[in-house]
Structure formats: C-alpha cells, structure tokens
Assembly symmetry: C2
Homo-oligomer: 374 residues x 2
C-alpha cells in the first residue's frame, strides 16, 4: 500500500461567514491510497475549531503510513491502529477511511452504498446553506437558491437573527433550518426560537456553546422545535452525553474520522432514539460523495459543501433539486472532472504532491495562504 | 428471490440444563434464499423464553416472504420492511439476515468478515458451556472439556452453586465464567459472587431477573467481578437502559435479529464503554458461523452451540482450542457436511421442506416432538 497526499485548494464561490468567522478558501488535503493496482481516494477538510490544520493532517497521514499493514481490506484494524498511534486528527483519519472504502468497493466491483447493504434510492435531500451577510443579501441569496434547493439552512448567531429569518421567509416558502453555530446563551436561544414561531422553521442546530450540554437540555425542554447538536456531538463518545438533551445530532465524517466511525455513531444514535443529520465542512465532491453513501441511513442531509466552492475538482454524487443521486461506479464512484484534469495537466509541475513517509512529511507543507480562517 | 424453510432438528449430545429447565433437542429452522442463481442460507433457533416456537418462525418467514422485494443486496431495506410488517420474531429475522449476508458475500466473492472490513485473524476464543448437573458430573465434564477448550462457562442458579464451582475449580485451572441465567436475587448474587472470590472467575452473566435493571446495578456496584447482561439486553433499545448498570452485554443473533442489528448493538455498546460478548442458542454451525464473522469486533465469545449437538449438519467455523477459525469461502462459507448430505439424500422424501408463501405456510409445521423445552 502506498499513501500519498497532496494539497487540495478549494476556493469558495462567495465568502462563507458563520457566527465564528469568515472563510474564503478551504485548504483541504487529497489522499490517494494505492494497492493491488487500484487507487482509493479520500479527502481531509481540516478544521481549526477542532484543532486541525493542513499541516497537522499531513503530519498525521505521515504517521498513519507506518500503520497500514499489508491488506487494505482490514479497514477496522487499520483505522484502530492509526487512532491508537495518533488520536484525534479526525479529518486525516476520515481521508484514509474514505480511501479504504473506495478501494474495497472497487475491488469488489460495487458502490460503497451496496457494500453497506443500503438502498441508493433512499438518499435524503440535502439542504443548501445561506451563510451570514446582511439580511437583504441573505434574502437575495435564499431566493436564488430556493429555485434549485427545496431546503435551506440559514446561518444565525448575529444580533439581528430574527430580521434575517423574516427577510428570508418573506421571499421563499421552502423548508428552512437554522444553525446558530453555538452563538446563543440558553436563555437567548429559548427567546429567539420562541420568536421564530411564525416562520415555520424545521429544526435548530447547535443553539448554545459546544460544552454546554445542560444548556442544550434547557433549550430542548423549553422550545417546540427539534434541537440538533453539531459542535457538541463529535464522536461516538458524545452520543450518550447528548442523549436526552437534544432531539438529533449532526454527524460529519471530518469530525468523527470517516465512514466506519459514522456508521457506529448512527447506530448509537438509534439506540437513543436520536434523529440523525449527515453534515459536512467545505469539501469537494470527493468527501461529500463519501458521506452521501451513508445517507440512506439518515433523515437529514446537509451535504452542500461542494456546492459552495467555485470549481469542484471531482465528479461524484449529483444533487438534483436537493436530492442526493449517488454514482453507480464501484467504490466511492468519484473521478476528477475533465476541467480539473486539464488544469492539473497544465500545472503538473506546480502540484504539491508528497509521498507521506515519515522522513518526507515535512516536504508536504502547504503555503501560508492556505491557513484556515476560524 | 425465493425463500424456503425447512425444519432443522438438532439433537443435543447430552441434555442441556440451565436454571430455567432442560432441553434434549433444538427445533430449529433452516432458511434458503435463492436469488440470481445463488443460494444464501440462514438458521433460526426459536426460543420459548422470547415468545418463539418453530411454528412462529415459520409463520413469520411466510409473512416476510411478501416483503423481500427484488434486490437481495438491499439488506437494510428488507430487514426494516420485515420488522415493520411483523415485529419481534427475532430468530426468524436472524435467519433471513444471515441468508442475505451469505448471498451478498457470495455475489461479491468474499467472506462476510471481509465485507465488514474485519480481520478474520482477530476472532476471540469461545467458551464451552458446562450445563447444570450434579457437582461431580459437572466437574467430570469440565475436566474433559478443559482438554480442548481453555475457557469454560459454568451454568449456575441452583441451591448449591458454590459447591459446583468448587468441584470444577478442583479439577481444572482454565478460565471460568459463570452464568446464573437470571436465577438469583440481587442480594443472593452479591453474596454468591463474593464467595466466588477464591475461585478466580472471569465474569458473571445475568445474575438477576431479566427486568430487574436496578438489581443488575446493585450487583455491579457491589462485586469485584464484571457483570454481563444477557436476558436483560436483547436489542438496540436495551443498550442505553443497561448502560451504567453492567460492565458488558451478551449479544445473540437470535435475540436481536441478525448480523445487521448485532453490528448496531456493538456500536451502541462501544458508545457506552460496555464490553461485548457474542453468544448463541443451541445452533448448528450455520448460525454459529454467522456470529463468528462478527466476532473480531468483540472481546468475548460464547459460540459453542454447535459443539453441544450430537451431529452438526453444517461445516463452517472451526474451533481450535477455543479459537474461532473462520472459513475462507465466500459469504458465510458454510456448507452441508458430507455425512449430513448423505443422510439427506437417503431420506429426501421425509424432509419437511416448504416454500414459505402465505398460503403454504401451514404445510411447514413441525412434529410435536420438536416442541421446545423452556
């Protein structure tokens, strides 16, 4: 098995602002895992909020490359060995996990969704996210997006949240979800969510701070809308902690470490009668497609990461009026887009490609402009 | 897809007595699911304790046959549809689930363990069960069994439990687990487990009544040995209920409905830091092998069902000094033993085989001697 990693710069179509800050680019990492003449691909979207950078991903992948063993089919062993060797680093593990599932699917000649015994027709519709801006600008973007997407997710966490929701509801009657990204106090959350009553909101994501689980419970117990934990529910260990305090959880491959871990989280969520949303970071169609293969297991999808970038380097899951349409190719079924392939050929010399062996890891550094905003 | 079912009479090598009663035979059901020229096999071991009989299994399978759809790869859909159509009936669902995994593995040309991304070398050792009898007889059987099996599970729940353990420990120093099958009160359990101190017992299974979860907690909080729930932990819904009240759980395909459900239970158990044992009923090597494919995920195995029957009709997982050695054939990798095949050919006319369609279900009845003891 040979693991290589290269930078994957994703430029956002428009700056993406949430309550914590704004992003213009995503400095992701593309992983290629070669074994038995096949190539599995994975993507890491490091998040500063979870203590990751492109450099930390590269360093983790370099470390992981010592723990791959000989047989890429031993997914559980490989992921456990990597996690034991170097905990956290969920985005790096997610990239490796995706590449392993991609390889196994290719080897067996079936899409990952079939490996998992799932029905590809049962994918949910994804929401499309309206990032923070002035209420008028958000309403304009919501109106435009609503033509293609029947579910919108509105970022909140400003001092004029109700004004935003009102402006958007004025221009569209599609399904609306809101996400405060941990910006409210519990009392604020209860007040704001009560005031959202007239605007027909489907659910509220992460109203309060990541570690304020009692705050989540207080909100949940005092509002009529379903409350979902995102920042407060990262890995399997969090499920029992948030159970009884929220109505659902948002699982992201980049938070938890990949498909194998996400499957376990979904199962544990079901044990607690929690609803499940599959979410994402700013990701290309590579990582988004990986998550989409799990989506027949969940009620809600927020897998719009690749829709927010200016030029998606991969072709994978298609989104048709929000509906996730999985590729029928084996493995993840993701391949480089023609345009990306042409660009790559033109700039071959400029690509930062590194075989991630321990000694060479430092060669795979990213340029400072890739540093991630919060 | 065509689902057929036939009786599978298993005669026990010696009568099998636990605290609730004694069994001489197991009236199991063999399921064959034919699709695209392949045949998947599964086995149901109905349990009167969980409200099942061979007749109820046949009736459930007949009902399920209306909900199979067209594509046997849609395992999750098919199992959900069957459970929605007719809840409970876990043994019947387990048989169907096994046959579906067997088919998928055969279709893709890999063992089920590989479909699941697991390492077949990581199977645990199974215990061998010493059923209830006089202390002297149990000790004699333990001494004989200890030659081949380095872990024994001792059934308890009599008025002379300590005498039994003492007699067995006198003749062997192998690992010993004990299982009260819900026979003790919490106070009795605490007293008996304390008295087991000198006998180096590894763990205690189901000390108290199925529904006495607070009793489980009381025992767990007051004894040094790990406490495992068996009867008290049947499906995914039970995990959160027993979490914090026991140290581990015993998952059985026949209790929970098969591999797919067992995988979810294992994940949920991990979310609660519960240890996991995979157990069984009186089953042939067909169902035992299905469970063994999951066993690389768990710490403990009690998969000795096929060792307790006089003539195992199937060849599948091998047990070498307790170690579960999985077959490398595709799917479950189970095939009829030569001797069983010869017998079947000789008595072809006498076999009770039924295509389980609604109208024919009643033709698949079992003879009265198959009725299960408690």
């Amino acid at each position: 098995m040979e693991l290589t990693a290269q930078t994957l710069d994703l430029k956002l179509a428009t700056p993406f602002r949430i309550s914590r800050g704004v992003r213009h680019t995503a400095g992701n990492v593309l992983v290629r895992l070669e074994a038995d003449g096949l190539v599995g691909m994975g993507e890491a979207a490091p998040s500063a909020f979870y203590g990751e950078s492109r450099e930390s991903v590269m360093a983790a992948l370099s470390h992981f490359s010592q723990h791959l063993g000989e047989d890429p089919a031993l997914i559980e062993d490989i992921l456990s060995a990597c996690e034991r060797a170097m905990g956290d680093n969920a985005a790096a593990r997610a990239a490796l996990d995706m590449a392993l599932f991609d390889l196994l699917g290719q080897r067996l000649g079936v899409p990952v969704v079939t490996l998992l015994g799932l029905n590809p027709a049962r994918t949910p519709r994804t929401s499309f996210t309206i990032a923070l801006d002035t209420p008028a600008e958000m309403a304009a973007r919501a109106r435009a997006a609503a033509r293609d997407y029947p579910i919108l997710k509105i970022k909140l966490g400003t001092d004029h949240d109700l004004e935003i929701v009102r402006a958007i509801r004025d221009v569209t009657d599609v399904t609306l979800r809101v996400d405060a990204n941990a910006a409210w106090t519990p009392k604020q959350a209860i007040r704001i969510i009560a005031a959202l009553g007239p605007y027909n909101i489907e659910l509220v994501e992460q109203p309060v701070a990541k570690s304020d689980l009692e705050g989540l419970r207080l909100v949940r117990d005092n509002v009529p809308l379903p409350i979902f934990a995102d920042e407060s529910c990262v890995t399997l260990d969090d499920i029992a902690r948030v159970a009884g305090k929220v109505d659902g959880i948002n699982i992201k491959l980049m938070k938890c470490g990949g498909l194998a871990h996400a499957l376990k989280m979904i199962a544990a969520a079901r044990a607690h009668h929690l609803q499940v949303m599959l979410g994402c970071m700013i990701e290309s169609s590579l990582a988004i497609t990986a998550a989409a293969h799990l989506s027949p297991l969940v009620e809600y999808a927020d897998l719009d990461g690749a829709l927010l970038i200016a030029s998606d380097p991969f072709d994978g899951v298609h989104i048709e009026r929000g509906k996730l349409v999985l590729p029928s190719r084996p493995g993840l079924g993701v391949c480089p887009r023609e345009s990306a392939r042409r660009r790559a050929n033109r700039h071959e010399a400029a690509r930062v490609t590194a075989r991630v062996t321990p000694s060479e890891a430092s060669a795979s550094s990213a340029s400072p402009r890739d540093a991630q905003p919060a």
